[in-house]
């Protein structure tokens, strides 16, 4: 891990050779100090350095693919211990063979075995800990980068949802209606401006996650219907049936409105002649039942086509209530009906 981390910078590629040089010089002078001849000390220190660097590379390989976790953290101690033991032993075997005739040297080599092991062991152990720490840090950096991406994504999704909610087609056609009304009927133009403003304010408001009262949602819906009636007054009929006892109940935002939008889309925009859209709200046992009914043309879209836009509501229902059995769709006799079943908490 640290190798990959270090070697990425221009500075990093000097680290390993640098450590090797220091290691080599340190070992060489230490061995000289211990009374070893110049030649054996040079050879010994050279191979010792090679073995050390080999061990570092091996360690890096191992921890790059496998980071010990809390459960098998003991590996972090055992592995460097065994590795350094193996390295020192291998080094001793090699030099034993190299200087087979120099008994003075061999004696010194044998007596230094334990010291070498301890020293190499401590260094490799430290490096292993360093490797794990660096890899953890890198992992965390990756994690926070991903979190940032996720945040960006959800912001994008929110924006897209807002754009969807604002329905440019609806908005511009409404503006066009006002445009037409200004001269022909200034009073109605004013009404339409106010309706549209209140409607847009409602759209922006319902961004939050807090629940709203059913009567507020219905007020909002009737604004929506009023605007559509200005546009299509000659053929839109709305029937709202609301039981008194449910008006004060609280519901999650953005559940009923898409149902009504769907009804308008297929009922009003999709068929000819007079269109009747029915909305009814009533209490049944521990549920609030909200039903939206609209005519549709099965030839044109088919019931699957109609229900398609409702999948986001199903997803929201699942997120809020953890249930998938709260939305019912039916399409009979050119009438499409959606029923929302909201569990009443408290």
């Amino acid at each position: 891990m640290y190798l990959t981390a270090f070697s990425s910078s221009s500075f990093g590629k000097w680290i390993l050779p640098g450590i090797g040089c220091i290691w080599f010089l340190g070992a060489y002078f230490l061995l000289l100090h211990q009374g070893m001849g110049e030649e054996p000390a040079l050879v010994d220190a050279f191979f010792f350095t090679l073995f050390f660097l080999g061990g570092v590379l091996l360690l890096d390989r191992v921890f790059r693919h496998y980071t010990p976790n809390r459960k098998n953290g003991f590996l972090l101690v055992i592995f460097p211990l065994l590795l350094s033991g193996g390295l020192v032993w291998g080094h001793a075997q090699l030099l034993d063979w190299w200087f087979a005739e120099e008994s003075d040297y061999l004696e010194l080599l044998e007596s230094s075995f334990l010291y070498r092991w301890i020293f190499l062991g401590v260094v490799i152990q430290l490096l292993a800990v360093l490797a794990v720490v660096i890899s953890k840090l890198a992992g965390q950096e990756e994690l926070s980068r991903r979190e940032g991406q996720l945040l960006q994504l959800s912001k994008d999704a929110e924006l897209a949802q807002l754009r969807q909610q604002l329905q440019p087609h609806f908005l511009f056609n409404s503006l066009n209606s006002i445009h037409a009304l200004v001269l022909a009927s200034p009073q109605r133009a004013r009404e339409m401006v106010l309706l549209l403003s209140d409607f847009l304010r409602g759209t922006l408001r319902s961004e939050g996650q807090s629940w709203i009262s059913l009567s507020d949602e219905l007020k909002y819906l009737s604004m929506y219907f009023d605007i559509e009636r200005v546009r299509f007054g000659h053929r839109l009929l709305v029937e709202m049936e609301v039981a008194l006892e449910v008006e004060s109940l609280k519901i999650p935002p953005l559940l009923v409105q898409p149902l009504v939008e769907n009804a308008i889309k297929y009922g009003l925009y999709g068929t000819l002649g007079e269109v009747k859209i029915r909305v009814s709200c009533q209490k049944e046992e521990n549920y609030l039942l909200i039903t939206v009914q609209n005519p549709f043309d099965p030839q044109d879209s088919g019931p699957e086509g109609i229900g398609f836009g409702l999948s986001s509501i199903e997803r929201r229902l699942f997120l809020i209530f953890g249930r998938t059995d709260l939305l019912f769709k039916s399409a009979e006799n050119n009438l499409f009906q959606v029923q929302l079943k909201l569990p009443l908490t408290a």
């Binding site: 440019p168 087609h169 056609n173 066009n176 299509f232 000659h234 999709g270 068929t271 000819l272």
Partner: protein
């Protein structure tokens, strides 16, 4: 007098266009229609020279209406949908008014129409890029009725001179268009051009049998058989993953 028809599903929108038109006495509004069906009848009846046409309308869109006309009049599109500006079909219009539009913008469109009307030449069309969206339905005219055919219900298309005959369970329908236009508008995963004059719905294929040397016959669920050319066979193998 220039005979004009205004088509929009919103009464206020048609009202606005006729109000703007009042400043141009040479135009006579002979009909105001609120959907494609009414519009088709009115166009056949009055043979107008200019059409104000909304795009998004119930049942059939403005583009689909245009496809049904043998010799469409000059068209000024009016729509709130900006997206159609970039993904319109290859429908030909003189100009494209995005709602809400100003009186000055309207005057521009009228001037554009008048300059070409005076020159007595066929209106030069604004080019619209071909839609990326694959069409799921085809609108045809049967005498004076409009018929909407879902492409999935078509078993195959056959080229007949300037027309395409559309074969479905209900029978055969004719539409004026080229094989190339048709092929481009259909989903290439669902329809394959197996022959110069034949395009089949892959879901309707029930078998393939060798015919003469290097040519095949495609059997359809309806029992009909369709010739497959050599290159058509290669294309078929590719889409069916043979």
């Amino acid at each position: 007098m220039i005979k004009t028809i205004i088509v929009d599903d919103e009464p206020l929108a048609t009202g606005l266009v006729s109000e703007f038109l009042r400043s141009y006495p040479q135009f006579e509004v002979v009909a105001i229609c609120h959907d494609g069906f009414e519009a088709l009848k009115a166009i056949q009846l009055f043979q107008p020279e200019l059409l104000f046409l909304d795009i998004q309308m119930p049942k059939i869109t403005g583009f689909e209406l245009l496809e049904l006309l043998d010799s469409p009049p000059a068209v000024l599109f009016t729509t709130a949908f900006d997206q159609y500006a970039v993904q319109a079909f290859d429908a030909k219009g003189l100009d494209y008014l995005v709602k809400p539009f100003s009186e000055a913008r309207f005057a521009q469109a009228i001037a554009r129409f008048l300059s070409q009307h005076k020159a007595k030449e066929l209106p030069e069309s604004v080019d619209y890029p071909v839609s990326e969206e694959r069409s799921k339905r085809i609108v045809v005219r049967v005498k004076n009725e409009i018929k909407i055919i879902q492409t999935q219900e078509v078993s195959f298309f056959e080229a007949e001179d300037d027309y395409i005959s559309i074969h479905t369970q209900e029978g055969k329908f004719l539409k004026k268009m080229t094989m190339k236009q048709l092929e481009e508008s259909l989903d290439p995963d669902k329809f394959a051009r197996v022959h110069r004059s034949f395009l089949v719905n892959l879901q309707q294929v029930s078998g393939l049998e060798p015919y003469e040397k290097e040519s095949y016959l495609l059997r359809l669920r309806s029992g009909q058989k369709i010739p497959v050319s050599k290159s058509g066979y290669a294309r078929l193998r590719q889409v069916l993953g043979l």
